[in-house]
C-alpha cells in the first residue's frame, strides 16, 4: 500500500477534495457528523502512517494511548488534589517520549529512535499544554473523546499549527452558521491556493532548483576566512526563502483544510519579513510555536522567578528567561551544535532588542523615528533573521566539519 506525505502530491489533494465534499455539504446545512469526521480522519492517518511507514503508525498508536493515559489520569487526579511535584512529574512524563526521540540521533550516530513518528513534537505540545491548563484550573471539563479528536485532527497532525484544547473544543462542539461557514470556506480555499504557489512554485524554485547549486558552489569556494564566500551568502537567502515558503505553504494547507472542516485553526505566519525588530518577528513567524513557548515556558518561568524573587531586577529575570526559552527551542529542533547556537542567537537577540527598546524609551526626543529608520529597522531585522537561518541550516557544519 502507498503512503502519502500530508499535502505532498496531487493525489493527496484529490482525495482530500473528495473526502471533504460530504462534510462541506453537511456544514452548509448546519450539520456536523462526528462519525464521518472520525472516519476521514482515520482514513488520512492511515494514508500517512500506513503502508511502508507502518512502524510509525504503531509508534503513533502507543504514543497516543500513553498521552491519553497521562492527561486523563491527571484530569481525574486534579479534581481532588493539586500537588506541585506530581504536576512536574506529569509534565516530565509527557515530554519523555519526545526527549528520547530528540536525543537518540545525537548519541546513536544519527540513528532515529524507534518510538518516533512524523509529528510527535506537535502532539507533545498539545498534550503538555492540556496538562498545564488542567493544573491551572482553566481546563475543567477534560473529555477523552475531544482530547483524541484534538490530538489526531488530521489536517494539522504532522507539523501544526499548534492549536489549543479549549479553542479547538469550542469550534468542534459547535456548527458555524451558513454565513460564517461560507466565509470560512472562501478563506480556506484561498489559503490552499496561495499554499500551492508558496510550496510548489516558490519553495520548489528556492529549495530544489537554487539551493543545491549554491551549496555545491559554497563547498567548492572553501578556503577563505571561515570558509565563507559569496555563494554562502546566496545560500543564506535562498535557504531563508525556501524555509519560509515551504513551511508557510504547508501551514496554509493545514489551516485551509481546517477551515473547510469548520475549525478555525490559528494562522502560523503573519508577514514576518516586515517585522521592525526580533521581538515582533517572533509574533509573526511560526506564531503558534512561538506563542506556545511564550505562554507555557517564558511566562511561566518569569512568573515563578518573580514569585520566588530569584533575581533582583525584572530585566535580569526577563533576560535569563529569554535565553532559557530560546535554548529550549534550539534543543527542541534537535541536539546539534547549530540548532543550539541558533537558539542562543535568538535569546541574545531578544535581550539586545529589549535593551534597545528601553534605551529608546528613555531618549525618545533625541532618537529620530521616520520612514527611513523604519525601513532600516526592517532591513536589519530581516538580515539578522536570515543569518540565524544560515546557522540553523547546518551549511556551516558541512563547510567546517565535512
Amino acid at each position: 500500500m502507498l503512503t502519502f506525505e500530508p499535502y505532498g502530491n496531487p493525489t493527496y489533494f484529490a482525495l482530500l477534495g473528495v473526502a471533504l465534499l460530504p462534510l462541506m455539504i453537511g456544514l452548509l446545512y448546519g450539520k456536523r457528523s462526528r462519525l464521518y469526521e472520525t472516519l476521514i480522519s482515520i482514513f488520512f492517518l492511515v494514508l500517512t502512517f500506513g503502508g511502508s511507514k507502518w512502524t510509525q503508525g504503531v509508534a503513533l498508536i502507543i504514543y497516543i494511548l500513553y498521552e491519553v493515559g497521562l492527561t486523563w489520569g491527571y484530569a481525574v487526579y486534579r479534581r481532588h488534589k493539586n500537588s506541585g511535584p506530581f504536576f512536574y512529574l506529569m509534565v516530565i512524563l509527557a515530554i519523555a517520549p519526545l526527549t528520547i526521540v530528540k536525543v537518540t540521533p545525537a548519541v546513536e550516530n544519527g540513528q532515529s529512535s524507534l518510538i518516533g513518528f512524523l509529528g510527535i513534537s506537535y502532539l507533545t505540545f498539545r498534550a503538555v499544554q492540556t496538562i498545564m491548563e488542567t493544573r491551572d484550573g482553566t481546563l475543567k471539563n477534560y473529555n477523552l473523546m475531544t482530547f483524541l479528536q484534538f490530538m489526531l485532527f488530521f489536517p494539522t497532525i504532522s507539523s501544526g499549527p499548534i492549536d489549543r484544547y479549549r479553542r479547538f473544543e469550542k469550534d468542534y462542539r459547535s456548527v458555524p452558521s451558513r454565513e460564517q461557514y461560507l466565509g470560512m470556506l472562501q478563506k480556506g480555499i484561498r489559503y490552499i491556493f496561495v499554499g500551492f504557489l508558496y510550496k510548489f512554485v516558490l519553495a520548489y524554485y528556492f529549495g530544489t532548483m537554487l539551493m543545491p547549486k549554491l551549496q555545491m558552489m559554497a563547498m567548492h569556494s572553501r578556503g577563505g576566512f571561515l570558509d565563507l564566500s559569496w555563494p554562502v551568502v546566496g545560500y543564506m537567502y535562498a535557504y531563508s526563502a525556501d524555509l519560509f515558503f515551504d513551511f508557510a505553504g504547508y501551514s496554509l494547507f493545514a489551516v485551509g483544510t481546517s477551515y473547510i472542516m469548520g475549525i478555525a485553526t490559528p494562522m502560523n505566519f503573519n508577514q514576518p519579513w516586515r517585522s521592525p525588530n526580533i521581538k515582533d518577528f517572533w509574533n509573526r513567524w511560526h506564531i503558534t510555536l512561538s506563542f506556545w513557548f511564550r505562554d507555557f515556558i517564558y511566562m511561566r518561568l518569569v512568573f515563578w522567578f518573580m514569585k520566588h524573587k530569584i533575581f533582583k531586577k525584572p530585566t535580569t529575570t526577563a533576560n535569563v528567561t529569554y535565553i532559557i526559552n530560546m535554548l529550549v527551542m534550539g534543543f527542541w529542533h534537535g541536539v546539534t551544535w547549530y540548532y543550539i547556537t541558533y537558539g542562543l542567537f535568538h535569546g541574545v537577540a531578544l535581550m539586545v532588542n529589549d535593551m534597545w527598546l528601553r534605551y529608546k524609551k528613555k531618549h525618545r526626543q533625541s532618537i529620530p523615528h521616520n520612514g527611513f529608520t523604519q525601513i532600516f529597522a526592517i532591513f536589519l531585522t530581516a538580515n539578522l533573521v536570515c543569518f540565524s537561518f544560515l546557522i540553523f541550516s547546518g551549511l556551516l557544519n558541512k563547510l567546517w566539519f565535512n
Partner: protein
C-alpha cells in the same frame, strides 16, 4: 480604593506612562506591555487586589487595553 483606580495605578507604574487618557488603546501594539509586563501585572493584581489569575487564563486579546483589563479584574474580584 476601587478596582479601577488600583488597576490604573499598577498600569501607570508598569508602563511608565499615564494610560488613563487612552483607555481603549492596545497596550501590546504600542509596546507598553509585553509578556514580562503581563506577568508583573498578574503578580501585582494578586498582591494588591487579591485577584488570582493563572497564566493560562491570560488570553492576550482579552487583556490588551486598560478598559478590558479593568473589566476582566472586576469580573474576577
Amino acid at each position: 480604593m476601587d478596582i479601577k483606580e488600583t488597576v490604573l495605578e499598577i498600569l501607570n507604574d508598569l508602563t511608565g506612562n499615564d494610560v488613563s487618557g487612552a483607555m481603549d488603546d492596545n497596550l501590546f501594539d504600542s509596546g507598553l506591555l509585553d509578556s514580562m509586563g503581563s506577568v508583573q501585572l498578574l503578580l501585582q493584581l494578586q498582591s494588591e487586589l487579591d485577584v488570582t489569575v493563572p497564566v493560562s487564563e491570560f488570553e492576550r486579546s482579552e487583556w490588551d487595553t486598560p478598559n478590558k483589563i479593568i473589566a476582566k479584574v472586576e469580573s474576577m474580584a
